[in-house]
Symmetry: C2
Subunit: 332 residues, 2 copies
Amino acid sequence: MVSIKDVADQAQVAVGTVSNVLNNPDRVAEKTRERVLAVISELGFVRNDAARQLRAGLSRTIGLIVLDVSNPFFSALARAAEDRAAESDSTVLLGDSAHDVGREGRYLDVFEQQRVKGVLISPVGNIDSRLEQLSAHGVPVVLVDRVDPQGRVSSVSVDDVAGGYMAVQHMLSRGRRRIAFVGASTDILQVADRLKGAQQAVAEVPDAQLEVVEATAMTVLAGRASGELLAERGRDGLPDGIFCANDLLAIGVMQAVLLIRGLRIPEDLALIGYDDIDFAQSTVVPLSTVRRPTELMGRTAVELLLEAIEGLSPESRQVIFQPELVSRGSTL
Amino acid sequence: MVSIKDVADQAQVAVGTVSNVLNNPDRVAEKTRERVLAVISELGFVRNDAARQLRAGLSRTIGLIVLDVSNPFFSALARAAEDRAAESDSTVLLGDSAHDVGREGRYLDVFEQQRVKGVLISPVGNIDSRLEQLSAHGVPVVLVDRVDPQGRVSSVSVDDVAGGYMAVQHMLSRGRRRIAFVGASTDILQVADRLKGAQQAVAEVPDAQLEVVEATAMTVLAGRASGELLAERGRDGLPDGIFCANDLLAIGVMQAVLLIRGLRIPEDLALIGYDDIDFAQSTVVPLSTVRRPTELMGRTAVELLLEAIEGLSPESRQVIFQPELVSRGSTL
DNA sequence: ACGTACCAATGAATCGATTCAATTTATGGT
DNA sequence: ACCATAAATTGAATCGATTCATTGGTACGT
């Protein structure tokens, strides 16, 4: 394996000079620099990161742990984070906890051993003890899609109450009045917030009413079941607008309403989802939905982390983004 | 920052002993070991990976670069690879090239600098020059979902010809005879292979015929367009079985056929896709499809890499997996 | 010709864990 | 009690890049 020493010998300079060619090129005379660079590519020298960061005490790496890489929200966020990190000459190590506490823990261990500069994490469950440990070791943390109730660390998240509000307000503005909310258990914070927003919107319009339909899960199949349940009532008992807590549910509802009951969307029924997954624009009737500013969140998360690393702002910051309404055929 | 030296001082032993507690616990007397472990947790000592691997010359890390983390095929593969690597006390660094040569290159650079043990890669384009460089530096490589035509490195991939064959053979065995293949340009190797398999299956049945419909892309919308084109012909010109080169296309075809033309699946038309994406089982009529053994591929890729690292088998191995038919409602 | 800056280049010390030859301590047999 | 042997412990050397005080050169002004 080629080391800086080999390069130095071959180029007839001291190791310090080679190091300067790499890190402070302007301190080295042009002739020398060229000679060294020539030797570097001739020998195929590649910097040993371990030695660098042993000396430096810190790596140029940021750890990112997401709940599910295959979730488009997280993969897009990860990409944005990587791009932003690259701009600051850092690399992102991506870990997929797959909603598993054990995997999350293993990644945190690895990250600590690697002496990452900081950690971005969308935590599985309660990470209080982990937060303690990381901060005890001086590793900055930024929460993603979650706020720290105690405000110890910075976070980026989305205002789901506003998202729920804008979804329902959109249907109300289109003249719909009998609104149904379809979502899984409100134990899930995000679902509860979206419902809260929906309630606020309905409260502002005198003759509007909101009905809550609890689905068994946040899946297409659960949505289909809820859709059938609603459609069975016949024309009169039917709501004229349905807000689903995510796009998968909405797709299920659409399948039930359209195919199994032969109703028309949006004529008989307006429908809106949440998340703007890829599929939303490919449904039979393109699905209106609420989109989170994924890329901005990824970039901002990295920026908050860099701030924390550089100790610029000692106090933590909770950045909350506003979601965006995407209006498509299902609410025309 | 707590180092092994601090632990040694506090526990009144030599640094070598602390190291042995961590790496060769049975060489240390029980009493000493306990004392050292107590100090370790008391001081919150965390091994410095940089120092370890500087000394060792090699990390305990494997680099994995996939084309798209949000693709369920790759995310499942990545998870399996991580699990397998963990069993061998290694960690996987996951990089998402997002089909971008620049990103791929950046990851390879980082991996080289980090002195990863080896690299698993699903390459974006031609990586001949990269392969040269990596092998020149002695970094073992295993290709994923791609074979090296020159057989220099090991690989894991899927027999797409067999997959195409079993999809069409399945429909033939159900009595279908007028088969259509819907796929994007056969420039894509995978599409070409699946078509080849379809042709083989049809060739084995005297009165069966195969028609090729070229879609503009491998998406739901492109599938819908192709489906409408086919359905426009009316009953007589219609095939009685459609094989789509992936599930997205099949979902599009299903939308067109079912909703826009009011045909029945599978009565009027059998339909089968490829990939077994999550959505396949949630379509209105559950979609039959062909599944690749994703987890096995991930595990095997790691195993081939470990073999190459340990230099057990100097010659490369091309492992080709057989896909599996998943029969659902759309081909009953 | 001499002194003062300034620019380039040098190379020893450093980071922290591991390794291994050397040394100390413990154990058992007679 | 003594020696042989095994077990436990020690600590200096090592990995490779960076840093920085120091040295060697060059240019310029007087």
